[in-house]
Symmetry: C2
Subunit: 399 residues, 2 copies
Amino acid sequence: MKVSIVITGTEFTYGIKEEKNSRYIARKCLEKGLDVNGIGIVGDNLYNIQYYLKMALDKSDIVILSGGLGATTDDKSREAISEAIGVPLIYHKEWLEKLKKYYREQEREITDELKSMAKIPYGAVIIENPVGRAVGFIKVLDDVNKVIIALPGVPSEMKPMLDIAFSKLGLKEDKRKILIIRTFGLTETEVDKTLKDSYINDYTLNSSPKGVDIFITDNMEENLKLKEKLLKKTLGKYIYALDDTEMEEVVGRLLKENNLKISTAESSTGGLIASRIINVPGSSEYMEGGIIAYSNEIKEKILNVKRETLEKFGAVSEETAMEMVLGVQKLFSTDIAISDTGIAGPTGETQTKPLGLHYIGFYNRGNLKIHKVIYKNERNNTRLFISQYALNLVRLALL
Amino acid sequence: MKVSIVITGTEFTYGIKEEKNSRYIARKCLEKGLDVNGIGIVGDNLYNIQYYLKMALDKSDIVILSGGLGATTDDKSREAISEAIGVPLIYHKEWLEKLKKYYREQEREITDELKSMAKIPYGAVIIENPVGRAVGFIKVLDDVNKVIIALPGVPSEMKPMLDIAFSKLGLKEDKRKILIIRTFGLTETEVDKTLKDSYINDYTLNSSPKGVDIFITDNMEENLKLKEKLLKKTLGKYIYALDDTEMEEVVGRLLKENNLKISTAESSTGGLIASRIINVPGSSEYMEGGIIAYSNEIKEKILNVKRETLEKFGAVSEETAMEMVLGVQKLFSTDIAISDTGIAGPTGETQTKPLGLHYIGFYNRGNLKIHKVIYKNERNNTRLFISQYALNLVRLALL
């Protein structure tokens, strides 16, 4: 079944707030085997919402709208739906009673605006709001055999209500018809070529500083299994996850399994590697801590990098990366340690050291290796790439 | 002028990737005084892209499309535009030569797919790609007096190319008709009440762990100035920025102005505070570095937190936060130092220490204060809130 998603909110068409509901809803649809053919994000304007709704109804079997069901002036979705489908709004009696009781208990007067949160199109089925006051609804358009699901925009209300709506419609968890493969270490072109050479066609690539993600769809689950097997063989160690898992989670799991402790000494990434490791719940089992050694003085004083090393080779050098990683390993007495030093930009390059030049030190139970990496991008993308590179070194070593 | 934005990418309709370009483009439109009436996000499907494009053209004067201009099989935007407007694609000769030269230098064969990155609709003007190989274009539809701007989806390419497109169209920076006020320390309800009490109506609030952002629109610039003045008085120190500026940038500017150095000792936030400080270009002028002291052992060994303190009061205590901040200040010899220790969750609470309990140590040139904060949210939201809280302490002290 085809789905269109409509999100309302002028904060989104102004570009002043990140819109996150559409991604959540789209992902849930994917899990139910529903095919999202488009997402419309539209300001709080009655005419525009109607326009997008009609278009969505034209294209899809199910339209999921989120936002604009509250009680303030910019909440226009009920009215827009009512006008778009030509069905009047009525009060849902029980929900209205619930609202009245709520505001009585709060010792607040219930205004017409507040009452409007109990309105639904005639013939619609309500979706109870387990958290807030605005009621959602499912309206089936019998004549065209289409369905509108209306949900509030507040994520903590929308999320459980979407589940309720799906279960009311009898949509069960579908066997996933999508294969996700996350890789690091190959360019998008290289991944593309690998897929083409494997005669795989229906795929999407997503390239970022974190690597290249592959998404393959196939209606036949067996075919997906076959493709997974093939690509696991071809891409091998480049694959770090077969689902949404982040690199830091993979690394965390490997550290835990091997009962190893890690520490970090960061210059260019300035705490990003540690922060990513600590993002994972339970990371205290393997993360000892880290040093952010942004200045030369600190590299010397805390990490025991020799002054001569800094003077002779500079802060961005193989030698400094090496002494940093040895310093932090000694300080924290960990099995594994990472260090980095580099020029993330936008300034800082020299005649001999280009923008993006980084050295990553990797210590693994007595073994030491320094990796030279050049990656030029926006400052924070570069730092993200370097953190991913460093975490990937840990992953590869523990495979 | 009315604008519609069309974003292509099956990764977005699958809900597997965060879509960020539309927000950026919408924001840029706002700054140019352009009115975005809708954003369409559509998978890499020729028919669907065409459908959204036609709808966008129907509704708007300018359609900005981003994505699908590359050389892989899922890049379908050129073709979709060509078919939607009934104008054939041709090679842009100079760009094609550029591509040929590039691949010759790379010693790679130039395939038809790679060549297609030089294709534009007949009569279109190219937008040079300063970073990548895919060319963008502006196509004016004379008969209906509408414009299509086509840009790649890679943010680092899209962003400068959007600027080029706007300047080619002669769109100048508009006097901003929007007032942005970023606050920290008040709840959304408190901010809402303040605005209502000031008889301000046309606003949108955006609440996050970083605080409450206020967006006020008004067609009259004078009115906006008046409202700004009023709110600056009412909200006072709660305001940390009057534009998009992040807290770490404000803090960075204040540290630089006062010629002060900072260091951090993080437990709960695990490097997030340092990472945010170092996000700001030029931060090496004031950021000395930090310690991520996730384990008790490291708190003792590196930060000199006394074993008795940890045993008697626990790692999450006022006393530990104090010894941590004193330890890191001494280690890095900085004017200002921050420490934090807490329970970010989802586990770790005890009978006396609830989930979300944090102690933040703040040292400022001889003065020391420990702040007790309880904030319960998703693990990473809590860590973001604590980092914002800590940075805000620095801001308040240096105002």
